[in-house]
């Protein structure tokens, strides 16, 4: 029997429809794979019974000829999405044991379309991190390992990126056919780049934020991580949609993204922003970028140099806006109504003890930064100025698109994945620099797609990022497919983690 975990989501869907395999059979394969992969620590909670029960229902639907778009497709859910009756923690001690009595809008859409849930995926605590090392439940280990020039594989544990590290690792290790993720400054795209998977952060407002634990409300957006561009397109179609419960969600029709995957990119104008050629950018990243440009040109796209002059201000501005919103969003975790509570001699003592113990170091740091930049006397100098920068960044993109550019191609990250404990322990800014190519997209509310482009010198995946016009995810899928077709096949790593 073939290993069903090696199928893409689209292949599995087609085999289910053709009744070559059953949903129970398919889901059982993933349940077994997850059970053998605990050393990766990709899941916080596994829900095999739930997946199999849903799979049985799916088989009935298929038998009756009533299959829905994701019928029987096993998915992993980032533990930032509230799931009714299943613990939801945001990878934080403060929410340990919290079982929501409600289902997030996006996951409800997935279940509506017939998908099954394998479990809740690990992440950086409250999605704050770029390596999945800030999780209260321990770091996620990437299935990828470094390979020396002589072919020897290193034992060093590699990070899957973050914050959606569990999602990326689970897809790359074939523990699910696709995963939900979220992206506030790069949390879908950077882990996708680090693990050789495909991730899309859709336009702000494309997916409902209702029921997703908030990090920075004006930047957070849900999206999928999958093995292929087509799989990501299939998932996004089910996840997206207007939701009156989230007033920032936008009421525009959801197209059939999968159809866009096969569309020609001939004549598309691709902008190459000169400001992304950072000083000291590594040779292999520059080479990857050049290669990406060449692939798109060969596929019929027109390449054009553009300028996004305020790019260099994006990262500092992001690290003001995001913590500011987070400091307020996380105020509700106070030990009074749910989650962790440490009693104290009075209410202030209860707050201090609960929050000091409940939040990890990085979360505490960002709450402190956010509280500071919103304080009287500092608000104008930090928060207000950061918002002005945000407006300018958005205008940079608007001007580029107004000049006829259809999408923008950039590297996804300034480097390949690094080893656990290698970065950020001394200087958090070292970690923050991972987001340098991705935060602009969140600041401007645009869609961004990351696809694998090749491997680094030490055998780790490198990703390319495509940035699109608002609500033109279809263009990104077409372009992403062109890159996927042109790039050498990135073979997902074989299991060493059993």
């Amino acid at each position: 029997m073939t290993d069903l975990t090696r199928l893409t989501l689209a292949e599995a869907r087609d085999k289910l429809a053709a009744r070559e395999i059953s949903a129970v059979e398919l889901n059982q394969c993933f349940v077994d794979a997850i059970a053998r992969a605990t050393s990766l620590n990709a899941f916080i909670v596994e829900t095999p019974e739930k997946a199999l029960a849903q799979a049985r229902a799916s088989d009935e639907k298929i038998a009756k000829g009533e299959a829905r778009p994701l019928e029987g497709i096993p998915l992993g859910i980032k533990d930032l999405y509230a799931t009714e009756g299943v613990q939801t923690t945001a990878a934080s001690h403060i929410l340990e044991g919290f079982i929501p009595p409600y289902e997030s809008a996006v996951t409800a859409n997935l279940w509506r379309d017939g998908a099954t849930m394998l479990g809740k995926l690990n992440l950086d605590e409250f999605a704050m991190g770029s390596s999945n090392e800030t999780s209260y439940f321990g770091p996620v280990v990437s299935p990828w390992r470094r390979k020396a020039a002589d072919g020897r594989i290193s034992d060093a544990k590699i990070v899957p990126g973050g914050s959606s590290g569990g999602s990326a690792a689970a897809v790359a290790a074939r523990l699910c056919l696709g995963a939900t993720a979220t992206d506030t400054g790069g949390s879908i795209r950077q882990p996708a780049a680090f693990t050789g998977t495909v991730g899309i952060k859709p336009t702000y407002g494309r997916c409902s934020r209702w029921g997703v634990v908030a990090f920075a409300s004006s930047l957070d957006q849900a999206g999928p991580i999958a093995k292929t561009v087509r799989d990501a397109a299939i998932l996004l179609r089910s996840m997206a949609g207007h939701d009156p419960r989230d007033t920032t969600s936008v009421d525009v029709p959801v197209p059939d993204y999968e159809q866009a995957v096969d569309a020609s990119i001939r004549g598309k104008v691709i902008g190459i922003p000169r400001e992304y050629r950072l000083d000291g950018l590594s040779e292999e990243i520059v080479a990857l970028w050049e290669q990406g440009i060449a692939w798109l040109r060969e596929a019929g796209a027109e390449i054009r140099d553009i300028s996004l002059p305020h790019t260099r201000h994006a990262l500092p501005a992001y690290y003001i806006v995001a913590p500011a919103e987070a400091s307020s969003n996380l105020a509700r975790y106070d030990g009074v109504r749910y989650g962790l509570r440490r009693t104290g001699k009075d209410i202030a003592d209860l707050y201090e003890k609960t929050r000091a113990e409940g939040f990890g170091k990085e979360v505490r740091r960002r709450i402190m930064i956010g509280t500071y930049v919103l304080s009287a006397g500092y608000y104008d100098a930090y928060y207000l100025r950061a918002q002005k920068i945000r407006t300018l960044i958005k205008r940079d993109f608007d001007l580029a698109y107004a000049s006829g550019v259809d999408a923008i191609l950039t590297p996804a990250t300034p480097s390949p994945a690094f080893a656990l404990g290698e970065k950020g322990s001394a200087d958090p800014v070292e970690m923050y620099l991972n987001d340098v190519f991705t935060v602009t997209v969140n600041m401007a509310g645009l869609p961004g797609l990351v696809v694998p482009g090749g491997l680094s010198a030490d055998g780790l995946p490198l990703g390319l990022q495509l940035i699109g016009r608002p609500f033109e995810e279809e263009t990104l899928f077409s372009l992403g497919q062109a890159l996927e077709r042109a790039a050498p096949a990135i073979l997902l790593p074989e299991s060493w983690w059993h």
């Binding site: 999405y81 509230a82 939801t88 945001a90 929410l95 919290f98 929501p100 009595p101 409600y102 997030s104 934020r209 209702w210 029921g211 997703v212 634990v213 908030a214 920075a216 409300s217 004006s218 009156p244 419960r245 989230d246 007033t247 920032t248 500011a324 919103e325 400091s327 307020s328 996380l330 105020a331 509700r332 106070d334 009074v336 109504r337 749910y338 209410i347 202030a348 707050y351 509280t371 919103l374 304080s375 009287a376 608000y379 928060y383």
Partner: protein
């Protein structure tokens, strides 16, 4: 406005006169079925935590959605205050930790409120009216309620109020006495009730006031103010201001300085107490709520709401003066409550409106006040009071008998005309009957007749005797005339 108080409003201190300057922040609960950002009920008096949605409890991932009815109510109120309506306003987060504030922030409006400057005209007496400026009105969420008396060591929280919509109405420091502040709140409450945007029920906390008080010598710039938080009755507002002004004058006259702080009024002890100083004041870290887009609507929407506004007290008062010939003061008294004005208009239909107004204001309101009732529960209906006025106007009963009749209707009910018939209260206008009574009195009192001829004011005594003889039913005017002709004066 920065007018000086007339001398009568000044407070005499040991070292001279002081002027008290007052500004009010009124928190008025919006009349709406559901909360400002959630579908939970706003009903008062439910079991603790029975009107709480996932949003109100600030569960992870929950998002606010603005309640359109609350927005409409704020616009209506702005229109009623003759205020600027802002077509674009912004919701901000006011961040602080408190157990009855589940989100850890209150959603409010800080820099860009939905309503800007307006004005409230306040009648103080038949001859004095002041104009109080409104600086702004904004929408915000109410907090829950902490309960400290359920257990020995524990406190509990009731989130039923959490998220209920409030309008904060901020006045200019345009008031110069506790009396003016009371009159302003009364008038504001009247306007809100007319509009149906707040029930104005202070006992249930639907209307609460934060009172800013400072004192100064006449002509000086504004003194340092203290804010008295959460005063929950109109009477206490006046008391708190008087007590606080006296406290501040005492400090200043002793050479001290006023510390800017937040205080609480204790009605039992008749004093204000410090709650927190300026140094302890929260830094609320306001910033625009990223979960909510700016609130925007068209002028056409405002116009549509304006076209359906009820007649407001000031307009109604002007109409009563013009249409019914009432004095402005009487008209003002009648329009204080919409129900009273409606009552009056029903009773006045086709009648002598001034006479009806007299009866409503003097007899009915006097009696209602005495018994602590309101117009809605009046035992005497507009139809009944109209019936009494009809009997007076057609000379069927005298004014004095009418008061007896009112008493009967109040306690026993019934149709006034029928009561007059069955109880023989009809006024005697038949001159032969009156003449007979007059003749009897004259015959029986020759000495008084002599006195009356010398001193015509004695006539009153004769009138009294005749009325007594007829059981009060004789028409006093007819008695007067007959007496005069019989006595030849």
């Amino acid at each position: 406005m920065n007018t000086q108080a007339p001398p009568s409003k000044l407070i005499a201190g040991a070292t001279g006169d002081w002027e008290v300057v007052i500004g009010l922040e009124i928190h008025a609960q919006v009349t709406s079925k559901s909360k400002l950002f959630s579908g939970a009920s706003t009903e008062f008096g439910g079991a603790p935590n029975s009107h709480v949605s996932l949003v109100d409890a600030a569960m992870p991932g929950m998002l606010p959605v603005i309640n359109a009815e609350c927005v409409a109510q704020a616009i209506r109120t702005g229109l009623g205050l003759k205020a600027q309506i802002n077509l674009r306003s912004v919701f901000d987060r006011k961040n602080y930790f408190y157990p009855d504030l589940p989100q850890g922030y209150q959603i409010s409006q800080y820099k860009d409120p939905i309503v800007g400057e307006g004005v409230v005209l306040v009648d103080l007496s038949p001859t004095e009216q002041i104009s109080v400026g409104v600086e702004r009105l904004h929408l915000e969420q109410d907090a829950g309620k902490s309960l400290h008396d359920l257990g020995a060591n524990d406190s509990h929280v009731d989130l039923n109020r959490s998220g209920v919509a409030l309008m904060e109405i901020v006045s200019r420091p345009d008031m110069r006495s506790g009396e003016e502040a009371r009159a302003y709140v009364t008038k504001l409450r009247t306007i809100l009730r007319y509009l149906g945007t707040c029930d104005g029920n202070m006992e249930q906390g639907s209307l609460r006031a934060d009172v800013n008080v400072s004192v100064r010598r006449l002509g000086e710039s504004l003194g340092t103010r203290c804010e008295i938080k959460n005063v929950n009755s109109i009477r206490f507002i006046g008391q708190a201001i008087d007590v606080e002004a006296r406290r501040q004058i005492g400090i200043l006259e002793d050479g001290g300085k006023i510390a800017q702080e937040t205080r609480l009024y204790d009605p039992a002890k008749g004093e204000t107490r410090s709650m927190r100083s300026k140094e302890e004041a929260h830094d609320y870290r306001y910033f625009p709520d990223p979960d909510l887009l700016p609130l925007e609507f068209e002028q056409a929407y405002v116009d549509e709401l304006a076209s359906h506004l009820p007649e407001l007290p000031d307009e109604k008062k002007a109409r009563f003066v013009a249409q019914y010939g009432l004095s402005p003061y009487d008209a003002g008294v009648l329009v204080l409550e919409r129900a009273s004005a409606d009552y009056f208009e029903e009773a006045a239909k086709g009648r002598d409106a001034k006479l009806v107004a007299n009866w409503v204001i003097n007899e009915l309101f006097g009696r209602l006040n005495k018994e602590g009732r309101n117009i809605e529960t009046s035992p005497v209906s507009a139809v009944q009071i109209g019936g009494i006025v009809d009997l007076i106007a057609s000379n069927v009963i005298s004014g004095k008998l009418a008061k007896d009749l009112f008493e009967i209707v109040w306690t026993e009910g019934g149709d006034p005309a029928q009561i007059v018939e069955t109880r023989g209260m009809r006024q005697v206008t038949d001159s032969t009957a009156i003449e007979k009574a007059v003749d009897e009195i004259i015959a029986a009192n020759p000495d008084k007749v002599a006195q009356a001829l010398a001193k015509p004011t004695m006539l009153g005594w004769f009138v009294g005797q005749v009325m007594k003889g007829t059981g009060g039913k004789a028409n006093p005017q007819a008695v007067n005339e007959i007496l005069k002709s019989k006595l030849g004066i």
